[in-house]
Subunit: 197 residues, 2 copies
DNA sequence: GCACGATATTGATCACTGTTCAATTAAAAT
DNA sequence: ATTTTAATTGAACAGTGATCAATATCGTGC
């Protein structure tokens, strides 16, 4: 066959990413297969490689889509008039990870080979999620400490990530931790206390 | 061929794990291959499957060995008369992860399929590392709060893990964080402050 | 010494994976 | 109508985890 009018290049890209994300959510990173994605949308494996160039770039596109969904989810929950916006953001972090186990975990299962560079648009997506946290932390900090918001946001992101990761991978269950979210919230409170009084 | 006198079953197991760990450290989880391990020690792929039963069990054995090394490293550094033992433990956490990138990361890259049960000896290894942290945290806590040491240890383990993971996978570099260890230590101090005064 | 049973080891075989690329098709331009 | 350009294919390749009948070796009893 040749040129097919039913999908522009852009549409095809989006179609592959959407189906890829669906399958990633279903089977997880370890069992994900590019061939299965091609089969599901009625294209051949070769077409996927023409569009994305490599398996790694396909995964990056799928993970990028997960980041898009994550950011949208985060901002939606922040717009729902919560008592504490920072607390809502952490709730949302856990919610999204637990509700999108495989897709969220794939964000960290995948690591770009050392010789490949991360696409700019992917960096932007990661940064965008951080910016949301920076903003909320800054608004919770005394104004004289506003400048420390970015560094604190990075650190608290790592803190929440660690709790969320241990909740998902079974480490917390193994250690008898019943309420990972509450533990994460306590650590955030502890960090904020440093800047109050 | 048949029985070979040069290796008992136990020795062969240890040989495979040692070489497997070596290769895991060299190539990482994604590029790890059981066939390559077999080739390196002069056995066939079939023998590896006879000894371990499955790929997953082989990985578990290798990761178990990494946990052994990790615990030994941790305790050695705690025995070196440090000013603060808790701080030494966190230093050791980062040291080991940074010095054993691929092997350490494989601990989290691998996830047991839902239908398989984690071997008891693996659970014990994970718990053993936690126990060390519980002990050091308890000794840093006012005696009236000693009972909260286990929960706090789990939470701080997750906190340090999150910082360490972001340091290794490039997230912190992407976000401009220069000193992940210092950030982790700050979060631990913040948490301990909750129980003082 | 011999034969037999128990155990260890093999590697061909299978189904699958990511990856490549000459061949083919169809649309657009001339 | 012809040529050019772009899209699509799928067979082919090298690699993977997994299986298992066949084979080789050892230990033991006779």
């Amino acid at each position: 066959m040749g040129r097919r009018s039913d999908h522009s290049r852009e549409e095809l890209r989006a179609l592959i990413v959407a189906e890829g994300h669906r399958q990633m959510a279903e089977v997880g990173f370890a069992k994900f297969s590019a061939r299965e994605v091609a089969k599901a949308i009625g294209y051949s494996i070769g077409t996927l490689y023409n569009v994305f160039g490599s398996y790694d770039q396909l995964i990056l596109a799928i993970n990028g889509h997960t980041l898009d969904l994550w950011l949208a989810d985060l901002e939606a929950k922040l717009d729902s008039l919560p008592a504490s916006r920072l607390r809502a953001a952490i709730d949302a972090y856990f919610d999204f990870a637990l509700g999108n186990r495989n897709a969220w975990t794939a964000l960290y299962d995948f690591r770009l080979p050392a010789d490949e560079v991360m696409p700019e648009d992917y960096r932007i997506k990661v940064t965008a999620i951080t910016e949301v946290v920076v903003r909320e932390i800054r608004s919770e900090l005394p104004t004289e400490h506003a400048g420390e918001a970015p560094a604190l946001a990075r650190s608290l992101l790592a803190t929440v990530h660690g709790h969320c990761y241990f909740a998902l991978n079974g480490t917390f269950a193994l250690l008898g931790e019943q309420d990972p979210l509450a533990a994460a919230l306590d650590r955030v409170d502890d960090a904020l206390a440093r800047f109050k009084s």
